[in-house]
Subunit: 335 residues, 2 copies
């Protein structure tokens, strides 16, 4: 985290953001198959988000806000304009921000061309930058649509187009004023990991986890939820039958972290190393490091599995670590 504070031009947030949600690439796409959405997980995540947002006055019947044709679908869209015209309000506390990963979108294009390494003088990198953005923005479009079909007033906001940029891969410029204006107007901004310009390398990939960490620092939400394809953070690969789910992790003022629950045998340092080592892509390690920065702000971070009763409770902020019936990892500041 040894990076300069990004330049900002952000009005004060009008009311506290309730939750920043990361829809992990592994949770909402089929990682092994090029540009394939896990429709059922995405639908569940959007429906649970609506439940979490509902303030008790939301109508039971969902009125969808996607009035477009679906790709490949010749039928006219269902437009419920009359229904909306008669509604007093949505009945939703929509003060959420959604950030999603790329999963099986973008990664292929980025790795074929080396966009993350920079160097736009190379025509391959330039072409890969274009191809990567087409891929991740098409996923963004589908996620905005899925949220809108649940009646959530979602608006896509692409970090590259918003002018977010990096300096040696560290966030250098991150204008959040339009995100805040959108929240103020009652919309749910939907951002994503993106190919961006880099002041030193020409270009690189900005991950959704870094975006979340920055927005958490800026907006100080009540809690942050990472939805993924496993129940949380384990002490070794979750496929290992002896893997133990780490249910509560505390982060101290120096950024060090320790496992509070469950009580594990051996020294904690050993556990830390095996946690970090179990994901060779750096995905889970990055997630824990970014989550630790958020937790140090006093914001609880919940990591849990999409499309479960646990994800619904996390999205509602209804997580009690003293009870055993919640499956997931809580990362919070040491008291």
């Amino acid at each position: 985290m040894a990076e300069a504070a990004p330049k900002q031009r952000s009005p004060a947030a009008p009311r506290p953001v309730r939750c920043i949600v990361k829809l992990g690439g592994a949770a909402i796409t089929n990682k092994g198959e090029l540009e394939s959405i896990d429709e059922e997980s995405l639908r569940s995540a959007c429906a649970q988000l609506r439940q979490a947002m509902s303030d008790g006055t939301a109508p039971e019947k969902v009125r969808g806000m996607d009035w477009s044709r679906r790709p490949g679908d010749p039928a006219d869209p269902v437009v419920d304009a009359e229904g909306f015209a008669g509604m007093a309000g949505l009945g939703l506390d929509s003060n959420f921000v959604v950030v999603h990963g790329a999963g099986s979108f973008g990664h292929f294009q980025a790795s074929r061309s080396g966009v993350h390494k920079g160097g736009l003088h190379s025509t391959l990198v330039k072409a890969g930058f274009v191809a990567t953005r087409i891929s991740v923005t098409s996923l963004n479009q589908e996620i905005v649509r899925a949220l809108a079909r649940e009646g959530i007033p979602s608006v896509g906001m692409s970090p590259f187009a918003c002018g977010w940029s990096t300096q040696r891969r560290n966030l250098a410029s991150a204008n959040a004023s339009q995100i805040i204006e959108s929240l103020h107007a009652g919309f749910v901004p939907v951002l994503h990991g993106d190919a961006v310009l880099d002041e030193s390398l020409d270009c690189t990939i900005l991950s959704g986890d870094v975006i979340i960490r920055h927005l958490a620092q800026l907006l100080t939400p009540k809690y942050v939820v990472f939805l993924t394809d496993v129940h949380g953070v384990y002490d070794r690969p979750p496929t290992d039958p002896n893997a133990v789910l780490l249910k509560e992790i505390e982060v101290d003022d120096n950024g060090g972290w320790s496992i509070v629950k469950p009580a594990l045998e051996g020294n904690r340092k050993g556990v830390e190393i095996s946690v970090a080592a179990h994901d060779t892509t750096g995905g889970m390690e990055t997630k824990i490091l970014e989550a630790a920065v958020i937790a140090r702000l006093g914001v609880d971070v919940y990591i849990t599995k999409v499309d479960t009763e646990h994800s619904l409770r996390a999205l509602k902020g209804d997580v009690n670590t003293s009870s055993d019936d919640w499956l997931g990892t809580v990362i919070r500041a040491a008291k």
Copy 2:
């Protein structure tokens, strides 16, 4: 044009922009059919843009930059990464900006909900705002793809997400710094008419023509091209067999305009009224008014028909009004 200058935070453009191109909604979509792209016109416009950008060193074989699956297409994308790796450069003078209209995208959603009239306290307007943005951004995605398939390094930039906003429908904030950074990095920004926030009305529709006028004022391109579905501006509806194509219009310092070519019978005022009156949607009148503002900057504006030899000449900037073999309307400042 009695509006305050929008707030700007824009670095100086690194080199003169060659051309700002408007892909008119009527030119690239089938206006009568909901969310239907005129694939042949769009393909032609993109291929002609590539020809116009070619600096003589571009390879004959086009290497596409869309490495994504097409919606509804199960086949893997064609990825020519090896071909790009061996290229010294694209051979394209890509210093262009593309702005497109909505055509049969967005209009239906906006008119059903009244987004242009504002009032986000109405759930119908809020839902319509979301629906309109889904529609226009899905068209943007398809246009970025079509340009990328021609090997043009296109990047989509949505005005709402970029923070463009209005005050009583007049442009109030229009940050072009990321557009300029993108041009500097060798990309072709692709913007579009969009639903945006409005300081007085909550929200409204920002048209592509207004975006073009603002970018022309800011970037002072060598020329501006409007591609549409007719040969140019006529003195009455083009469907009228007696309609005359106005080939050259001069704009004076006061913003008044007069028809230089052809020499028409009757007084010019009469012609002005009939031109303005022939399009009840205000589309052509708005276009002429915005074009007149651009022409007063000393920037020639060419209005011509997509997918013709005339559109190719316009995109190349190769228009000679003293010869009769070019069909279109030139709007320029009076000398």
